[in-house]
């Protein structure tokens, strides 16, 4: 649980209290460092189902430990990373993936950033073109009242 937890409330905390101690235990660590590194990487992308938004790599919950061991078991059995993840997703559902799949409606999620970026870029360029082509008369801009106001502010400034 997380940084801004302070302003969440006691009620919210209750669910996450178990997860304050670091997760991976020495007895879980695989002897083969390369395999262990893969296990850690996979774990970081899998959600601990009983915690609040924590990966099984971070969580101290017993379910997370079971999942970590399961990941290592599959790796030792010779599965590829994808096979391990598919194996877990098959049992626990898509909810377990911290990195949402890019399929179906999820394309909307993944495309949201680039799409909004392009739209904003288009609008911004349109605006800038308008501004750079606007009549120079606008430069004369300030009305009398605004001039008076500006003078007043500047007078104050020079004091």
């Amino acid at each position: 649980m997380r940084v801004a937890r302070s302003f969440t409330l006691a009620a919210v905390f209750a669910a996450s209290l178990t997860s304050t101690l670091p997760a991976v235990q020495p007895d879980e660590v695989l002897d083969d460092p390369a395999l262990e590194a893969r296990a850690r990487e996979i774990s970081e992308g899998l959600r601990c189902l009983v915690c609040r938004n924590e990966s099984i790599d971070e969580s101290n919950a017993s379910l997370a430990r079971d999942l970590r061991l399961l990941v290592r078991e599959r790796l030792e059995a010779g599965d590829t990373d994808e096979e391990v993840v598919d194996f877990i997703v098959e049992r626990y559902g898509e909810f377990v993936l911290l990195n949402p799949q890019a399929d179906g409606w999820n394309w909307l999620l993944w495309g949201a950033g680039p799409l909004m970026g392009l739209i904003a870029l288009g609008l911004g360029l349109g605006y800038l073109r308008g501004r750079s082509r606007a009549e120079a008369q606008a430069e004369a801009g300030l009305s009398d009242a605004e001039q008076a106001r500006l003078r007043e502010l500047l007078d104050g400034d020079s004091r």
């Binding site: 997380r2 905390f13 101690l21 970081e44 559902g93 911290l98 999620l109 007043e152 104050g156």
Partner: protein, 654 residues
């Protein structure tokens, strides 16, 4: 008795806020000076009443009055005094009271320092600010009363969540709220300007200091929270893309955008409608954040489990205020005629780019945060959106932002020449490439993250230096630097701070290393270049906890660097364990040691992390806020914010 008076004062504040909403607004419409003048004393009275109410609650916590339900649930007589006080806002009801206290404080400050605002604008600002207050007083009084008594008070309380019993977290919420709620005043200014139907350079100048102040507080608040997570949660993570974190990050991004677009309004009278929209959105996202945090819609695995009644109430406030303001905006925005004319290559364009990047990146965070909810309701898919998504979707925007920033900071208003700036920035660019290349060559993996982070850091810090250097003129007269407006210094310092933050984030993420093992007492082991010795593990009694404290010697090249005492605490009343990592803080790296459980063979689990450049993250946050503070202290704001009140008579009516 004091408690009841506090409750009563809160009800009075609600009534005062009602008056403050209606009377000045009518007065401004009808041009009745007397009615408009109600705003300022009402704002002051409202603040004093809420302050008394808040003081009454603090008093109840300090004196451990367990006849109050809230104190019983969140305090304990054995708790250290600091945490008795911070316990006041370490819960829903108390933190809402702090929320309205800060809301009233900003309202009152707008009254006190708004001496040179036009009469009608000031009246409307105060009225809008009070209307937000009305909604939240009603929320507290009807759904979250902090002053509820218990018929049979218990002998002692249930203690505050031990995770919150920490100095960093004691002050994290007040800062965060000063930022969150500080944006309310920008919102009030925006809505008041929409009611007035005009926005000019002076408006930009009035809004900017409030935005700056809110942004500074948000930066400090988020930075503190991140630091707390780093040392308290036991594995040294600093940012998790948790919905609750995102709730504070989205307003921060919008506030940063608003900060920059208000400059364009002030200096060039362009981007007016957009700036108004940003002010509305910035506070709107504060409200969304409040909704996310309080309703538990997103944070809990069990959706809507928390408190539907409160969630619905805040949702209604959110819809009423953002919806109302946006409707008003749609009706009035066309009246905001832009005046400044500028070319495609200009400071204005650079600031537009800044706004696009900040606003879109914030919206990306928003979409990612609420996507699980949308997916479940609309497509019947239960899924998670976690750090891998945010890292991939958010980072590119920051990358582009960092790349164009030094150009944008130096380019001139109206019509700039990229060539000249390019020439003066070229040495920095080469230096940044050299540093990144060095990092690439030295690192073991083939990750781009570290080198890119260092490149951006060097590019931003160097760019800021070149920007300042360019202000010394042809003669390279350094005395000119001393005479530069503080706002210019603030700009360079804040931008350099962002660069340092980038370095910290990239360095820590890319080059962190870790060691997990079972160590016997007296055992010595190596982690990276360091040698650690587990000397002892003792049981230590704290004021309201029992600690298992290890004693670890950290040595490098045979010389002792530090003695670290990582702890594992158990709070018997709250029945909760916490880890207290021991950290050896250094300029270039932290060594982070955590003690775990005792194993069957008598050894202890010891985790050691080497975290390169970790401190740069918080140093970056601090330097950014320092830059903001420098900018805020610029004399033109002191003038504009009303350090002098003499010229009220000269204010044109419209």
């Amino acid at each position: 008795m004091i408690t009841e008076l506090g409750h009563f004062a809160l009800i009075l504040a609600f009534l005062v806020a009602l008056v403050q909403t209606v009377v000045p607004l009518v007065g401004a419409h009808k041009r009745w000076s007397g009615w408009m003048a109600v705003g300022e004393p009402a704002a002051t009275a409202q603040f004093l009443l809420v302050a008394f109410s808040f003081g009454a609650l603090v008093h109840a916590f300090v004196t451990s009055d367990f006849s109050l339900n809230l104190v019983m649930q969140n305090s304990h007589s054995a708790k250290p005094m600091l945490y008795k006080i911070s316990g006041t806002w370490g819960n829903h009801e108390g933190s809402m009271l702090l929320w309205v206290l800060i809301l009233a404080l900003f309202g009152a400050m707008a009254g006190w320092f708004g001496g040179n605002l036009p009469e009608t604008l000031k009246a409307r600002v105060l009225a809008v600010q009070a209307s937000i207050g009305v909604a939240f007083y009603a929320f507290i009084l009807w759904t979250s009363n902090p002053f509820a008594r218990l018929a049979v008070p218990p002998f002692d309380g249930q203690d505050l969540n031990p995770l919150l019993q920490d100095p960093g977290l004691a002050f994290h919420p007040p800062f965060l709220y000063l930022g969150y709620v500080g944006l309310s005043i920008c919102f009030s200014f925006a809505v008041a300007a929409l009611i007035e139907g005009r926005v000019d350079a002076a408006w930009g100048r009035w809004v900017r200091p409030w935005t700056l102040a809110a942004w500074i507080f948000l930066t400090i608040g988020i930075g503190m929270g991140s630091w707390w997570a780093y040392y308290e949660l036991g594995w040294g993570g600093f940012w998790f893309w948790d919905p609750v974190e995102n709730a504070s990050f989205m307003p921060w991004l919008f506030a940063a955008a608003l900060l920059h677009s208000a400059i364009v309004v002030e200096k060039r009278e362009a981007l007016k409608a957009w700036t108004i929209l940003l002010a509305i959105l910035a506070f709107g996202f504060s409200l969304i954040g409040t909704f996310i945090v309080r309703s538990g819609v997103l944070t809990s695995v069990h959706a809507f489990a928390n408190d539907p009644e409160r969630g619905v109430f805040i949702l209604m406030i959110l819809i009423a205020f953002t919806g109302g303001a946006l409707t008003l905006f749609a009706a009035r925005a066309s009246a905001m005629q832009a005046k400044g004319v500028f070319g495609m290559v200009s400071r204005e364009s650079a600031l537009v780019a800044n706004n696009i990047l900040l606003a879109v990146s914030s919206l990306v965070v928003f979409v990612g945060t609420i996507w699980p909810l949308i997916a479940e309701m609309a497509f019947d898919r239960k899924l998670s959106v976690g750090p891998p998504f945010f890292n991939a979707a958010f980072t590119p925007f920051m990358l582009i932002l960092g790349l164009i920033l030094p150009f944008g900071a130096m380019i001139s208003w109206k019509r700039g020449k990229l060539g000249r700036i390019g020439r003066s920035l070229l040495p920095v660019l080469l230096l940044a490439f050299a540093i990144a290349g060095l990092a690439w060559a030295m690192q073991t993996g083939r990750s781009l993250l570290g080198p890119v982070g260092l490149f951006l850091g060097a590019w931003l810090v160097g760019g800021s230096v070149v920007d300042l250097w360019s202000r010394t003129g042809q003669s390279r007269d350094l005395k000119r630097l001393a005479r530069l407006p503080r706002a210019d210094w603030g700009k360079s310092v804040a931008h350099a701070g962002l660069g340092i933050l980038f370095v910290g984030v990239a360095g820590l993420t890319a080059w962190e290393s870790e060691d997990i093992r079972t160590a016997q007492i007296g055992e010595t082991f190596d982690v990276g270049a360091f040698t650690l010795t587990l000397n002892a593990v003792d049981r230590v009694q704290g004021p309201n906890y029992v600690s298992t404290m290890a004693n670890v010697t950290l040595a490098k090249d045979g010389r002792e660097v530090a003695v670290l005492t990582p702890e594992k605490r158990n709070y018997p009343v709250a029945r909760m364990p916490t880890t207290e990592a021991a950290i050896d803080y250094r300029f270039l790296r932290d060594v982070y040691v955590v003690i775990g459980d005792r194993q069957d063979d008598g050894g202890w689990v010891v985790r050691t992390y080497i975290k390169p450049l970790a401190n740069w993250i918080w140093a970056g946050c601090l330097i950014m806020s320092l830059g903001g503070a420098l900018s805020l202290s610029d004399r033109r704001f002191r003038v504009a914010a009303g350090a002098k009140k003499t010229s009220r008579s000269a204010v044109p009516a419209e």
